[in-house]
């Protein structure tokens, strides 16, 4: 059970949060210009790596804000947490 440091509320139990998949996948601004393959790349393709992964999380049972997390999936170490729109930390 993680202890997650919500950038708006502080440290809270994982139970209050919802995981939202890979981070930094921006919705295309002009979807109609995209080929089927390009759209499918946005729509379906997600990384699922063993190691350092960038993820979206939502403080669903708290402030309801979305934020980003850098997590090592091999040992669940949370390496960084930052707000939506902020640049990911460089490793």
């Amino acid at each position: 059970m993680f202890l997650i440091n919500c950038p708006y509320c502080g440290e809270r139990d994982q139970q209050e949060f919802k995981a939202g998949g890979e981070a930094h996948i921006e919705r295309p601004k002009q979807p109609t210009e995209l080929s089927d393959d390009e759209w499918a790349e946005y729509l379906f393709m997600r990384k699922n790596i063993k190691g350092v992964q960038f993820e979206r999380w939502n403080h669903a049972h708290g402030c309801r804000k979305w934020f980003n997390m850098v997590r090592d999936t091999s040992n669940d170490e949370i390496k960084a947490i930052y707000k939506m729109g902020e640049k990911p930390p460089t490793q």
Partner: protein, 1001 residues
């Protein structure tokens, strides 16, 4: 007549408090302070159970939670009965009853014992090999396994006890109150760390508290005496909370631990009532200090499982702590010095010790000399090759070990004995440590796995870190505490420790016998009856991974998770396969460390608290009027209102007719309601719905369809424009929370530039939906001032008004196809609104209807229900709802996906109506649809999604999804059922009032 083996008064046993209890129906006596195991041993009862596979008689083996054999059923036949309890952990009380498990008809005579004689036919993997084939025999096998295994019996009535959960936060959590745990907790608390010390037993001090080895001294005192003083001082320390009878079951990441606090299990029945029985502590600790100790290992030799064969340390604890001799003729079998401590402990109490068998060539420590001086015979370089005694050990045979330890030589010596204490060395209890994700390494010298790489703020101290001698423990504890707590001094700085203990140990994982291995039974896992022979067989059959060998032989898979024998299993695998133990790794220790009751896990979340449910403000009226309820999401919704014993079908037919012929009323309060405000509210709706919203006039309503980004229909509902920058959106009942979440996600992450604010107001409003040709007249009676003319208040429009003094929002919208109004008031006025409608509607025979009738009425109109007629694979085009998809809008959620080649396929499943050729046959929802009957295999074209008998049309109607259904209008299809084939015809899904004339009726 049973013997009394109580040898001396112990300070932990209150001999003035005599306790009577029953075991297997027979009454025994013990004293306050006894465990069930110690009390039975005092009565010379060793035989307590039968093993799982061979049903071999088994006795008490240990004195703690690692017990594999003495597994009993507590208070059988009562609602408090509990199976799989370790007799070594049960504190006795007056009236306690316990019985053996795993045996039928009795532990003395067990029919399953035949498996022991047949054991050559029960090798490793027996279950996998035999019971897999033929598959049709599985039922018979299952019957056989279940009847002969008998893993205890679960209670048949509900649990009378209360269970609790509590969140605990502390700076330092110390697990285990042996010498290391106590000193760690003391120093942490004294340095102002908020400290919690938990101990699974009911007394503090671990094994040091009864440590009377005269050669070990702390500050010139016996370690037990020294520790008692330290414990005495704990009482006065602030910041320190101590919880005994509390065992940590799980250690998760980020120092989150679950512990079970046992509060009433040791009390008599009359004292258990109305108290919390067990409490689950959910602990979040800044630092964790593991002081979980070490478990003594047995030795693996032929027939090492007979009742009377115990761990040497257990024999010592029973004598020192409980004042019980485990036998009258005791022998010890060892590979290290610790059995000598046990032997001396017995000797000092006048308990007869016949001999020690030591597989080492010699040891020179003082304690060994002392044993020899006591006149106890020591057989050096000897091993036990066999044991005799079916229900109780009565003799052992020993032989000399060869130099390499792989065979025996010379002649056999038989030694008569009724108790054998076995000492195979100590294994650090690293179970919790590994659960936390931390990694072990193999210590070649000590032949054990020890903590190596910590993943969280934790340290391991004492014997769980591989320190087995008191001087090592104190020294290492001191510097580890200073590091971990960042403190300069501790009360361990000036402690003087004297010790006499040799580390010399001869490690042989599997001891040889004079018989070939195939003819021996050296048990490695007692509970699951896995022998060294089975492990070797698994390796011969090609298994290599330790995890595979474990599953194939079931080693370590019992309720004790093989706490005693895991190291031997690894050792035997390593020896046989010729690899190093460190390379093999260990099997995974999974939570819980010891079993938890279901009660502890669920805590207070039982009965009506099991799953939360929501009730509408009108709920009391529905209950008073005998509604049947249905669960929708977490809501309790009125399903139908039976009158005079009507069936659901009869009630729904009546309700549906009334709603169309005169007036009906539905509680629609559960629909999700989201208040949307902000200068970009219209643009936002444009992006989330498939249709256009910018031009919707203030005071108008519009139906909207929401897609997922993959183009599939996600939710629907009517949204009303309340003002220039103000809308109220309704969602489906079940989808409300998810829709809000999805909208918030887009707003926060994709479109943060939009000025839009979302608020869930589902609970703030109560909604009554009034429908039918007389609905207008009823509303007129309630709000006489409101102009209800079609000109002023047309279909799909909204009015704000007042019922008396109560503000209300009225939408003229319809989910039934009838003229209808949805009246919203502040939730607290909901029941009042409902009763006013019922009162005003009396003269029109207003009929309350539930969700079932609502479903029927909308099906007559061909309106979809998200989640019933759709399943996450339907586009609006598939639903024949092309009209709602804007061609003009540049983008909306899911738009691009509607032009993917796959979503544009003509032969996708599409929503159609189905009419049965025989109008009285109602199709089953979920029934499959085919176009050919005499073909095999035949393609399933689709399935029925909604089906009813329509009282208004006097025939059966259905909605279905059918491959390419759009172009099949009028086509004959078939619905094959178990006993008949039903002929159907594809039809327009709008069955009733195709021209929507009734909306303005």
């Amino acid at each position: 007549m049973t013997k009394n083996l109580r040898v001396k008064s112990s300070e932990y046993i209150d001999e003035t408090n005599r306790i009577s209890f029953k075991f297997n129906g027979k009454t025994y006596h013990g004293f306050k302070g006894d465990t069930l195991a110690s009390a039975l041993l005092a009565n010379d009862v060793h035989l307590v159970g039968r093993s799982f596979k061979y049903h071999r008689p088994r006795g008490i083996m240990t004195s703690g939670s690692e017990e594999p054999n003495a597994i009993v059923q507590i208070n059988p036949g009562t609602n408090r009965t509990e199976p799989n309890v370790r007799a070594t952990e049960v504190e006795i009380y007056d009236g306690l009853e316990a019985s053996s498990q795993n045996c039928w008809p009795s532990v003395e005579f067990d029919i399953g014992g035949i498996n022991n004689i047949l054991s050559p036919f029960f090798p490793a993997g027996f279950y996998y090999k035999t019971f897999m084939w033929p598959a049709s025999f599985w039922k018979k096998y299952e019957f056989f396994i279940r009847h002969s295994a008998g893993l205890g019996k679960s209670p048949t009535s509900s649990d009378p006890d209360i269970y609790d959960h509590r969140n605990v936060h502390c700076d330092v959590l110390v697990v285990g109150a042996g010498i290391s745990g106590i000193m760690a907790a003391k120093n942490a608390a004294k340095n102002n760390f908020k400290t919690l010390l938990v101990e699974e037993k009911n007394e503090l001090g671990g094994s040091t508290i009864y440590e009377n080895n005269e050669f070990n001294k702390i500050d010139n005192k016996a370690p037990s005496e020294w520790l008692k003083k330290e414990i005495e001082e704990l009482k006065n320390i602030k910041n320190l909370e101590i919880k005994t009878r509390t065992s940590v079951a799980a250690y998760h990441q980020y120092n989150y631990l679950l512990a079970r606090e046992n509060l009433t299990d040791h009390l008599e029945a009359k004292d258990k009532t109305n108290k919390i029985r067990q409490r689950l502590l959910k602990i979040r600790a800044k630092k964790v200090i593991l002081a979980t100790g070490a478990l003594e290992r047995p030795l693996i030799f032929n027939n090492n499982d007979r009742p009377g064969i115990m761990l040497s340390s257990a024999v010592k604890k029973y004598s020192e702590f409980y004042g019980v001799a485990c036998g009258s003729k005791n022998v010890f079998f060892t590979n290290n010095d610790s059995a000598y401590e046990s032997a001396l402990s017995l000797y000092n109490k006048g308990i007869n010790v016949e001999a020690l068998i030591d597989i080492r060539e010699q040891s020179e420590s003082k304690i060994v000399k002392k044993v020899k001086e006591a006149g106890i015979k020591v057989y050096w370089s000897h091993t036990i090759v066999d044991t005799v005694g079916y229900k109780r050990l009565n003799s052992i045979s020993i032989m000399k070990l060869s130099n390499d330890g792989t065979s025996v030589t010379g002649s056999k010596i038989s030694i008569s004995c009724d108790c054998l204490g076995v000492a195979g060395g100590w294994t650090p209890a690293v179970h919790l440590y590994t659960q936390s994700g931390s990694k072990l390494k193999f210590d070649e010298e000590k032949k054990v796995f020890v903590p190596n790489q910590n993943t969280s703020e934790q340290i391991s101290v004492g014997s769980c870190d591989g320190d087995f001698k008191i001087d090592e423990i104190i020294k290492n504890l001191n510097h580890k505490l200073k590091d971990a707590l960042n403190i300069k001094e501790t009360n361990l700085d000036n402690i003087k420790v004297e010790i006499d203990q040799e580390n010399s140990k001869r490690n042989i994982w599997l001891l040889p016998s004079d018989k070939p291995i195939g003819k021996t039974k050296p048990f490695v896992d007692y509970q699951n009856d896995a022998t060294a022979k089975d492990i070797k067989l698994a390796l011969r059959e090609g298994f290599r991974s330790i995890e595979h060998v474990k599953r194939y032989t079931t080693t370590g898979m019992g309720t004790d998770q093989g706490k005693l024998g895991n190291m031997h299993a690894l050792g035997i695998i390593a020896d046989t396969a010729g690899v190093k133990m460190g390379e093999l790794g260990t099997t995974t220790f999974r939570p819980p460390y010891t079993p938890l009751t279901f009660g502890t896990i669920v805590g207070r979340n039982v009965g009506k608290f099991f799953d939360i449910f929501r009730r509408t403000p009108m709920n009391d009226w529905h209950v008073e009027n005998k509604a049947e309820f249905e669960n929708v999401g977490q809501w309790k919704r009125a399903w139908y209102y039976p009158i005079n014993g009507e069936t659901m079908h009869e009630a729904v037919q009546r309700e549906s007719k009334a709603a169309r012929e005169s007036a009906g009323i539905l509680d629609a309060s559960t629909l999700g309601k989201i208040d949307i405000q902000g200068s970009d509210a219209s643009e936002f709706l444009n992006r989330v719905y498939t249709n256009a919203w910018s031009k919707l006039a203030i005071g108008k309503c519009r139906y909207g369809l929401m897609l997922n980004e993959d183009g599939m229909v996600y939710d629907d509902g009517v949204t009303t424009r309340l003002g220039e920058n103000h809308y109220i959106m309704t969602t489906t009942t079940g989808g409300a929370a998810n829709v809000l979440g999805k909208l918030e996600d887009y707003l926060q992450t994709e479109w943060p530039e939009l000025d839009v604010y979302l608020t869930s107001v589902t609970d703030h409003y109560a909604t009554a939906s009034l429908c039918g040709p007389n609905s207008k007249k009823i509303l007129k009676k309630i709000i006489p001032d409101l102009d209800l003319s079609d000109e002023n208040f047309p279909h799909m429009s909204f009015k704000e008004s007042k019922i008396g003094n109560v503000q209300c929002r009225i939408m003229r919208i319809s989910f039934t196809g009838e003229h209808s109004y949805e009246i919203n008031v502040q939730a607290s006025y909901g029941k009042d609104l409902w009763e006013k409608c019922i009162e005003a509607g009396k003269e029109f025979n207003i009929t309350p209807y539930g969700t079932e009738t609502m479903h029927l009425l909308r099906a007559e109109k061909g309106f979809i229900i998200i989640g019933q007629d759709t399943d996450g694979t339907m586009t609006p085009i598939d639903l024949q709802m092309d009209w709602i998809v804007s061609k003009k809008k540049y983008d909306f959620i899911g738009k691009r996906s509607l032009y993917r080649s796959d979503t544009m396929r003509e032969d996708r499943k599409q929503l159609v109506g189905l009419l049965t050729d025989d109008p009285n046959i109602v199709l089953e929802e979920g029934a499959q649809i085919v176009s050919e009957l005499n073909q095999s295999p035949v393609e399933m074209l689709g399935h029925v999604t909604s089906s009813y008998f329509s009282p208004n049309l006097k025939k059966s109607i259905a909605l279905a999804v059918v491959r390419g259904g759009k172009d099949m209008m009028g086509k004959k299809l078939f619905v094959p059922m178990e006993n008949k084939n039903i002929n159907v015809t594809v039809a327009n899904p709008v069955f009733y009032d195709e021209k929507n004339e009734r909306l303005n009726a």
